[in-house]
Assembly symmetry: C2
Homo-oligomer: 242 residues x 2
Amino acid sequence: MFGRSLIGPLGEATLSEKSSRSEVVYKALRQAILEQALRPGTKLSEDTIADHFKVSRTSVRAALVRLNAEGIVDLRVNKGACVAEPTLEEARDIFALRRMLEAEVIRRLVADLDAAGVKRLQQHVRQEEAALTDHGPLSIRLAGEFHILLAELTGSQALTRFVREIVSRCSLILARFARLHSPECAVDEHVQIIRALQSRDTATAERIMLEHLDAVELRAELDTGKEEPDISAILQRYARKG
Amino acid sequence: MFGRSLIGPLGEATLSEKSSRSEVVYKALRQAILEQALRPGTKLSEDTIADHFKVSRTSVRAALVRLNAEGIVDLRVNKGACVAEPTLEEARDIFALRRMLEAEVIRRLVADLDAAGVKRLQQHVRQEEAALTDHGPLSIRLAGEFHILLAELTGSQALTRFVREIVSRCSLILARFARLHSPECAVDEHVQIIRALQSRDTATAERIMLEHLDAVELRAELDTGKEEPDISAILQRYARKG
DNA sequence: CGCGTCAATATTGTATACAATCATGTTGAT
DNA sequence: ATCAACATGATTGTATACAATATTGACGCG
């Protein structure tokens, strides 16, 4: 699949590590949610998921518990799991925190970022550009992973962890509220961020990042088109993606 | 929002909610770890825990997965769980992030904090003072919960979530590296923080918070006294604490 | 005496079975 | 026809059983 240059933005697993079954389910569900294939509010029936991954409910439950701990799945006692539905209030709260975290990332990178890091960023943006044609889930994911890559380049595991979580939740928010994900502008803005980082100008870099995040947030306008899709077809696609 | 003036800083469960068994195990283990009754590196055998709580391994595993997601338990495939052992490098990383998060908390509180909030803080400090006599696990926990309470008073769920997680991990760090937890000075510093917040002087309040965190971090000096305690006696105490 | 090999044991990973709770649709009375 | 009570089926919570892997200790060899 993707050789992910040892580890991609999402890859915590090191090579040669045999994924447990709950791990497989976890990753697939997570990806499906973040790519907005599974939309907020979608019921996640344990039996359905177990059947489609050919595993037992035990493994499914473990995955759901993890996703719940990350805040992208809601888990109500005796009523099962569903993709989290952030409220508008939560959305604003999360975006505010995201601005703070990513401003910190930028400040650290302006001080620290080396040529190798710039190269990785540019490489990532090239991937984003390549994915633009399909307007699909891939570009959605890559847009988020750019920010995670930025956090990783700070070298701070803790900061990366938080950025990863908050980016996930923002994806969920966009999935819920944004009319359409139009990632092309984002790629442009990502290029600008890289340039600002190279210029070593903290104020400018921070400003551009904040403007970028504002632009992302602006796309979140109420649009409560709701339906209950059957998740079978979706899981079909994610069962063998890894 | 919801009347959580009824519940303490750690309480997410609302009243009359029947705790599932894995929830009970989760809370007990978490508390035991944060009160440093279970020290970093301690093996958490599923069978042992299941026996002591009179539940099946299923429930125990669910709790361990959650704790792992919060970063206070390590989970290695086929090798079981143990209390996380943060390295010195991770410790510094986490404290740096903590300073940033809590500075943000202070900035928000200087702008927002009302009389009711001050009252809750003072009440909490009184609890801390009352707990000082026993020098025990209670004072350790209360010291951490003061910071969580501060975060809650900002009204930001997301910020609270992150502060809670990072305070947990800092407890773990202190458990691993600090020679002795001497919480009496902390209480004094907490009082100062409240005063600074009341003064509405952002710069001062932030400075005092950062000094406080530095003081906490300073206690973390290498001291690798290691032993493998049997966790039975410890779990005995936590099985009926809730 | 040190050290590697292998069997026996213990522990974890996963599946299945059972119990408890919830959702749904039917029946019957007003 | 409306609504309540109940029975039935579906879904989740928990326990147990089995399979896979790791740990331990004994044994034999150098």
